[in-house]
Subunit: 194 residues, 2 copies
């Protein structure tokens, strides 16, 4: 998505060859017009798939998921992050790890909001090693809900989460895929639109 | 706001006389059409106030803030919750306490995203004792940003946060104010629209 790639180039901050900060328009301050275009693009990509619910993970996935959900006219469910290991039996849960925050957590979703009748689009802001995505897959498996596809704002193509997910046969659409990046050289996108 | 009051009556779950769970449409699963109407209503209430930024707190304030921001055509900034006390000097921070999660946290906002030029609408999902709101006021004071008003989805009118804020002369608009509630008797709203 050209608009997002341009925004990342203009305002994203590359630290070393691995960290991309998009605090100024996505993860702390949010550009709602860009967000709206991203929601529209996810709708264009997945509109014919019979999606009846969008799943995301707190916190930074929520804004994107909600904006997309408006186009799909479906509810959003956001998975919560808990530091408690004992989450009770009314919840689906999966162990996960945040590299950003450097800690383990339990990803949890109430059993009330996922069922075998659901056709789920999972939306998140970042995909790198795929830790959060694999926890979501685990939770969806527990619930019996059907995963229709995954929509990611920014994929770090130089980490292997995206590759693993595509090899599983899951439809993964990332609006911008960073192929490589460097503080000096800048960012190369995979299949950049010109 | 009649639509929200009806939704709370129909789907909200009252536990005892103090806990109101709205997990099914606001705090875990999100009804995006209701959210859109709430955003529109906040715009109606505050549209002439020169607001240039909406501030909220992760996680459950984000969805409402983003939907409102679309109408105002302004960016959202969401305050983050950190368990670290030492947050560095690039951040505004305020000590706060979550009664829902039973723990203390530091509310933090990057200094890059709040300045004396900003006219801020603070939006959140719940107001009860006002703990989060007072931490936001603290952060806004540190930044020099001007608070134009506060928009709350659901105010617990039987707790004193709302009273304290109104007594400070701040414009506080809550879309639904629960005057009293009870598992058996149900919910009474203040100034309910008929």
């Amino acid at each position: 998505m050209k608009l997002l790639e341009e925004k990342i180039r203009q305002e994203g901050q590359v630290i070393g060859t691995d960290i991309l900060k998009v605090d100024m328009f996505l993860n702390h301050q949010i550009d709602v017009n860009l967000l709206d275009e991203m929601g529209k693009e996810f709708y264009r990509l997945f509109k014919d798939k019979g999606i009846n619910k969008i799943l995301t993970v707190e916190s930074s996935g929520i804004a994107i998921a909600v904006m997309a959900a408006k186009y799909f006219n479906v509810p959003v469910v956001f998975a919560k992050k808990s530091s408690h290991k004992n989450v009770g039996n009314e919840l689906y849960s999966a162990h996960s790890h945040s590299f950003t925050h450097g800690k383990d957590y339990e990803m949890i979703v109430s059993k009330k909001y996922l069922s075998p009748d659901d056709n789920i689009l999972f939306i998140d802001d970042f995909l790198a090693g795929g830790n959060a995505a694999f926890s979501v897959l685990d939770i969806l498996k527990q619930s019996g809900a059907n995963l229709v596809g995954i929509g990611i704002a920014i994929e770090k193509g130089f980490q292997d989460g995206g590759k693993k997910i595509r090899e599983m046969g899951i439809e993964l659409q990332s609006l911008a895929i960073v192929e490589e990046m460097d503080e000096v050289e800048g960012i190369n996108f995979r299949n950049a639109e010109c």
